[in-house]
Symmetry: C2
Subunit: 462 residues, 2 copies
């Protein structure tokens, strides 16, 4: 912690002992960072963009206490933690594009999951490091989403003056492992948001290994039942306003161990995040893709082109001939022997597990700066009943994809003893199916048709 210097921002924590229904809630007073105005194309969240009077060497400390002694605790961190993170990746965190700048300037909420970065201890085995990472990232994202709710006014969907909060539900898997589902419903901004962590382990019979082989060529040929470990973070957020897109994130780490030694015999990372708007706002899509691309490029410039294409391929509904959304990032089975990780020149060093984990950390940390500015930019936009109807139709397509094609959902539904409520948390609160829905029809020259065109012909956005 020697890198810590002066500027401290308060982050409202996720209660470690969930107190569901607790009404204690602080009013967050977050520092506003001074960042370039709209039109300037990028900023770095470094010490040079810290709040006045709080640069390196300054003694000014800004703190807020968050939560009661019983349900919360205070995390304080220095802006230099950003710097350390950036330096570790030999790059700067870029939140490029006008919407990001505007939202940062207005709300100043920290993007970097500092608590998660702080907790990562390279001395631990990867399974522990990844489990800690996803848990801390979950805290951080849940807090951010609650903050957005708290900063929005009560409305007809959520008339209470009490800001809506996530239900924090921890669970135990009898066969081994645990998890935590954080779910918000009835929000001012978010109709339904699920932010879910699972850390599970057990024995994998050869049949289950065989079923995984097609998507995981790095898996050794099954010879018997083997121990496995899996941990991941899943997010699906369905906003109320038809002009705010749905977003999805999943990052996961999977390990198969040697039954004799208990050491990892095979492992891989998978993940990504993607955006599903009901209405196309091109600059928002560009922003989303740009932030993800930058997170990739810092680690390997081959990643983005490959993983962007994989995302378009994966989130596709063949029976509709259209993509679920406007894409983003998707990768699976990423390990040191993956073709994309082979050195372009044989004399160059091979990627290590650490390199891949650093990429996963960057990509998953890019979620908030990629998405939140889009939320802020659009959440107060007016919408009509017709636009809501179209959103509900699109949510129907979302349900179709998740129930018919999504590998994770299918795997979950086929796993005896799986926690169905967590698996189906991804489904929207409401969805709609109309026979031959006329909205968005070809030639209608409507904003709805504009979306459909893009879903039928995925674009390069950056």
């Amino acid at each position: 912690m020697s890198a810590r210097t002066s500027l401290r921002l308060a982050v409202r924590p996720l209660s470690r002992a969930p107190a569901i229904g607790s009404s204690a809630r602080p009013s967050p007073s977050l520092a506003r960072s001074t960042v370039p105005k709209l039109g300037q194309r990028s900023f770095t969240a470094s010490s040079s963009s810290a709040a006045p009077g709080s640069g390196p060497g300054s003694n000014a400390k800004w703190k807020t206490f968050a939560g009661s002694a019983a349900t919360g605790f205070v995390i304080a961190f220095s802006i230099d933690m950003y710097k350390g993170y950036k330096e570790a990746n030999q790059s700067t965190v870029q939140c490029d594009g006008a919407p990001a700048v505007e939202a940062i300037e207005t709300y100043g909420y920290p993007w970097a999951p500092v608590d998660a970065i702080e907790k990562d201890d390279p001395k631990n085995p990867m399974r522990i490091r990844m489990a800690n990472w996803v848990k801390s990232l979950q805290d951080h994202i849940v807090n951010t989403m609650e903050d957005i709710e708290a900063r929005s006014s009560p409305n007809s969907f959520s008339p209470s003056p009490e800001p809506p909060k996530f239900l924090r539900d921890t669970w135990i898997r009898p066969e081994g492992g645990e998890g935590s589902s954080c779910v918000l419903s009835g929000g001012r901004v978010f109709e339904k948001a699920g932010i879910n962590v699972s850390v599970v382990h057990g024995m994998l019979p050869p049949r289950a290994q065989k079923a995984m082989l097609p998507d995981h060529p790095s898996l050794p040929e099954p010879t018997g039942t083997v121990p496995f470990f899996a941990t991941g973070l899943s997010i699906v957020i369905h906003p109320r306003n038809p002009h705010v897109p749905t977003v999805h994130l999943n990052y996961r780490y999977f390990e198969i161990d040697d039954p004799e030694t208990g050491k990892p015999k095979a492992w891989w990372f998978g993940g990504g995040s993607d955006l599903t708007p009901s209405y196309l706002v091109e600059e928002d899509v560009v922003h989303f893709h740009k932030v993800l691309k930058e997170a990739c490029d810092k680690h390997d410039e081959r990643y983005w082109p490959d993983f962007k294409k994989a995302c378009d391929k994966y989130f596709f509904l063949p029976h509709r001939g259209e993509s679920r959304g406007v894409g983003g990032l998707f990768f699976d089975d990423l390990t040191t022997s993956s073709p994309i990780n082979q050195p372009p020149v044989s004399t160059m060093p091979h990627k290590t597990q650490e390199d891949i984990f650093e990429f996963v950390k960057s990509a998953s940390s890019a979620f908030l700066p990629a998405y939140v500015p889009i939320v802020y930019k659009n959440k107060e936009r007016k919408w009509t009943e017709e636009e809501r109807r179209w959103q509900q139709i699109r949510r129907g397509r979302y349900v179709e994809f998740n129930l018919v094609y999504d590998r994770g959902t299918k795997f979950g539904l086929n796993t005896p003893g799986a926690r169905i409520e967590s698996i189906l948390m991804s489904l929207p609160e409401t969805a709609r199916w109309e026979y031959m829905c006329p909205i968005g029809a070809a030639g209608s020259n409507t904003p709805e048709e504009e979306l459909v065109q893009v879903l039928r012909n995925p674009k390069e956005w950056v």
Copy 2:
């Protein structure tokens, strides 16, 4: 047609040349039949229950003209057609149970699909007979449902004084065949109703035949691409009122032909219908099962026990540990060599294709008397927002079953060129998913819990 005698009832026909949007609509004036009062346990729609002055030998003819010359035509039929149908099956059409009696007495709509019965010509090959049957049955059921709409008052969902009508959509399958989708949305009574016929043919590659083998042991071992023919009627009706159950029907005939001779090499029938209430009304479920059981028993007393069990087994969501609804009838791969069709004593005659078709006709004709009385009995019941919410949650489960497990839906979604709008017509207009929905929880001692208990432990209703 020599069996025709006197009493004629008018049936409003399905327009042969669909005039979508046509506002011409007759006010149906249907004859009321005198049937036993509530409490009497059964009635027969025979000449003894005909309207006064209309018995056999009477010359009174009741007619109404239905539709304009351009869009409609008149079908007249005699009550003796009922009799002929019954006699052919050596049994009487029973619509037992109080709700049936009440609805018949009140509304007097004819249950028997007389037009369909009339059109069936035993000289035709079975593919033609079954295609004609399902088309005529579709007409008959569409007309009945429109009649229910017309007899109900406009309401906030459907405020127009013009009674809601089905959209009648005919389509051509480029690879061979055709179909007709009749869809009602925005109804007074029905939120969404789809009544769909398809008659398709083409070539079936060995891979597709192999995929069918597990569910169709009567299929010959695939040796090459073979011609196939399939026709069927599918119905899903989702009412508005949470106290009126959703209903589903499907009857189908499948044939594989000898590529040399063009003659059938293998064929089977499949079908059934089942009820999905949000709230359990035991006497309604008993009525539904009873009518279906009687349709089975007329043909083979082994059918009902077997097909009722098959229905409970098929409409089951393993990931929820519950049935989709309260069951009904389900069978597949029914042909002369099916184990259930083997004579109990070897000296008894074998079942013929004709026998099985007669059963299919009875079972599919039992749809209206099984379902419509339940609609009439409950459609004016008051409901609360909470009951609507529960209905929407149940509709979510319906979507889960159809997208994740239903064989027909999965087959359709995997068939390139399949008509998605017709396949997904079965989905409700709206559905809902809540995380850990508290409604119907174990120990809540609520009507919702009562339903869940039955879905978890299927009952023998008759």
